[in-house]
Every structure is written in C-alpha cells, then in structure tokens.
C-alpha cells in the first residue's frame, strides 16, 4: 500500500544510497532506507539507476599504458633551466641601454648649453663635436675660420658670409639619429628577450 513520506525523507534516503550500495550504513539507517525503497517507487528507481551506474563503472575495462612506463637516467638528471640566458641577455641589454641613454642625454644637454645649438647630429657621436664646432660658427657672420684665426677674419672678408650650404639647422633630419636607432633596437631587444623568456616558462 502507498505510504506518504515527507519530502525530507526522500532526500535523506537518496543522500545515503551511495553508502547503502557499499554496505556502509549502520543497521538502523539501512533498515530505514530499505523500508523507504520498498514503499517509494521514485526512490526505488533512483536506487536502481544508481546501482546500475556503479556496476557499469566497476566493469569498465582498465586502459593499459600505451608503452612501458620507465624512467631514463636523463629524466632524473637535474635539468638546468634552458631559458635562463634570455633573462641574462635582457639584463645586459638593459645595462647597455642605460649607458647609451646616459651618453645621449649628456650629449644633448651639452648641445643645449652651446652658444648656438644645432639639432642635427648626422654623424657618429665621436666625431660630431669636431665637425659641429665649425658649423655652429658658420651660421654667425664672423669669425670665418673659428678660433684658428680670430683676428684676421673681419679684415680679410668685408663681404657678408653666405649661409652654410648644407645641412640647414631648421630642417628635420630625414633619418633619425643613430642614437635613437640604437636605443630603439636595444628596447626592442629587451622586450623580445623578456617575451621569449616568458613564453619558455609558460605552464604546460
């Protein structure tokens, strides 16, 4: 005959079906589950399907290893990190970058305090001051040859000096200065090395 259970009772029983299946309930709980299953068709179905599922799981064939599992001596040798050199390279490039930046800054500041600064540095930094000094003087009407013959120039050439033919200080350079190029390349190098290093250490 049908028995009416409180909802809690169905829940209580269903939560214990797994333990009931494994014979892990104390006699009292076990009797209570069995009484319920005998009277409640829905829980009895739940029990049947659960039992079937667990039986099917237990009957699953074991999947063997596709090849023998064994360690080789090289598997257990302490492995050095293969990507450590990328970080070292990034640090080295960062040091060079700071050095170049410092030199560049000192050079630019030196120019800014010169009597007539020119924005141009079309040649390598080492020879730039030697060439730049006369050019800076060229823009001024006198003296013509800089410091070498200071007293002669006003007398020797009374006519106005024509402006320097090339390059004009106001025109922007077509190609950035080699300083900027070196700095940009170093920055790219640092970022590239860090990205590669990160990629090499990604979780697998």
């Amino acid at each position: 005959m049908p028995v009416r259970f409180r909802f809690d009772e169905h829940q209580w029983v269903r939560e214990r079906l797994s333990l009931y299946l494994d014979g892990r309930l104390d006699p009292e709980a076990r009797a209570r589950v069995e009484r319920h299953l005998a009277a409640c068709a829905a829980c009895a179905r739940s029990w049947e399907t659960l039992r079937w599922t667990v039986q099917a799981l237990r009957a699953m064939p074991r999947v063997p290893a596709p090849r023998p599992l064994a360690l080789r001596p090289e598997d257990i040798a302490p492995a050095p990190r293969p990507v450590g050199w990328l970080r070292r390279a990034a640090w080295a490039m960062a040091a060079v970058f700071l050095l170049v930046l410092g030199l560049d800054l000192a050079r630019t500041l030196g120019q800014a305090t010169a009597p007539l600064p020119t924005a141009l540095a079309p040649v390598a930094p080492a020879e730039a001051p030697a060439l730049r000094a006369p050019k800076a003087e060229e823009a001024t009407p006198a003296p013509l040859f800089g410091l070498a013959v200071p007293s002669e120039t006003p007398v020797a050439s009374p006519t106005p000096i024509p402006p320097a033919p090339a390059p004009s200080p106001s025109a922007p350079p077509f190609w950035p200065s080699p300083w900027r190029l070196i700095e940009a390349l170093l920055l790219l190098g640092i970022l590239g090395a860090l990205a590669l290093d990160r990629w090499g250490r990604r979780p697998r």
Binding site: S18, V54, A59, P61, P64, A65, L69, P73, I76
Partner: protein, 202 residues
Amino acid sequence: MSASLPPSEEGRLIEAARSGDLEAFNALIRAYQDRLYNVAFRIMGDHDSAWDAVQEALISAFRGIQGFRGGSFLAWLTRIVTHACYDELRRRRRRPQASLEALFVADQTPETEMTLPPVEGPEFYAERRELAELLHRAIQTLPEDQRIVLVLSDVEGYSYEEIAEILRVPLGTVKSRLSRARMRVRDFLLAHRELLPGRARP
C-alpha cells in the same frame, strides 16, 4: 591487473631505489604501471595528458622516495600520480576552455521511464566498450575532486579508507564526494540515454 610483487621482493627493490638504483625503481613501476596509468587516464581523459602526468609523477616519486614511510607502495605511487593529475587540471582551469558537455549535464531529465539492461550477460559485454566510452565522457564532466574519488573508488576499486589515505582527506569527505560523483554520472547517462548502447535505450 598488473602482476603484483611479493612483499619481500618489493621491499628489496624499494631499498635499492632509495639508494638511487633507477633499475630497481623501474622494476617497481613495471609491476604497477597499468593501474597507475589507468588512474591517470580516467582522471585526465586523454592519453597525452595521462602520459605526461604519470611521467611527471614518476620523476617526483623517484626524487622523493626517501619520503616513503612504509605501508602500501602502490598507494603511495597512486597518491603522487593523483596529485600530478590534480596539478595539471588546476593549471588547465586557469586557462579555461568552454565545455559543451557541462551545458548538457545541466540539462538533466527526470529519471522516470528509464529502463536499464542487466549488467551481466553476453549482450552487456558486447556493448561494454561503447558503454565504457560513454562512462569515460561522463567522468570527464565531474568536478576534479569528485572525479578523482570516483576513479579511485569505482574504477580502481580502492576502499574509502585507502582513498582517504591517498588523498589525505577525512573519510566523510570521501563519502560525500563519491555519492555526488555517482549521482552526477548517473544523471549524465540518463541525460544521454539516446547514446546508451542497445537495450539500455528507453
């Protein structure tokens, strides 16, 4: 079932492995490799991940063999394999992939009008492989904690106590995870009953 070693032989090999004998360690592994691999395969779901997890586990087992304090060596190895799987699953979770399976599972159907075939009998064994594939998919839909307990219990046959020891969790946790895992696998099968082989279909 892989050939298990007589206890004296196992003890001798463990002692040799402890002093750095790789061949002795490999002899131990050979005795248990199918059980270890099956655990990893059922937890990870595919051969590549299972192989990687087991390899990683064996390396840490060899390096940490001083930490083996007696008891069941297989349980100790299983514990390391299980943890390697767990770590890998956690790494994967940090890079989540959309799971359609999870959506299907959420769409559960009531368990009424369900008929199931007997688990014994020739027809069952004929359909066993097909069913095993569906069960394997069902296991993959479980949350990691439940999946590991279910594999150790129902696929590998460890007792509640052994699982509690392997996972170092309280017995009550094993019981509740296993109960929830079984219910979920059952519900998956019911939700995919059209994929159940032969007579299992309603």
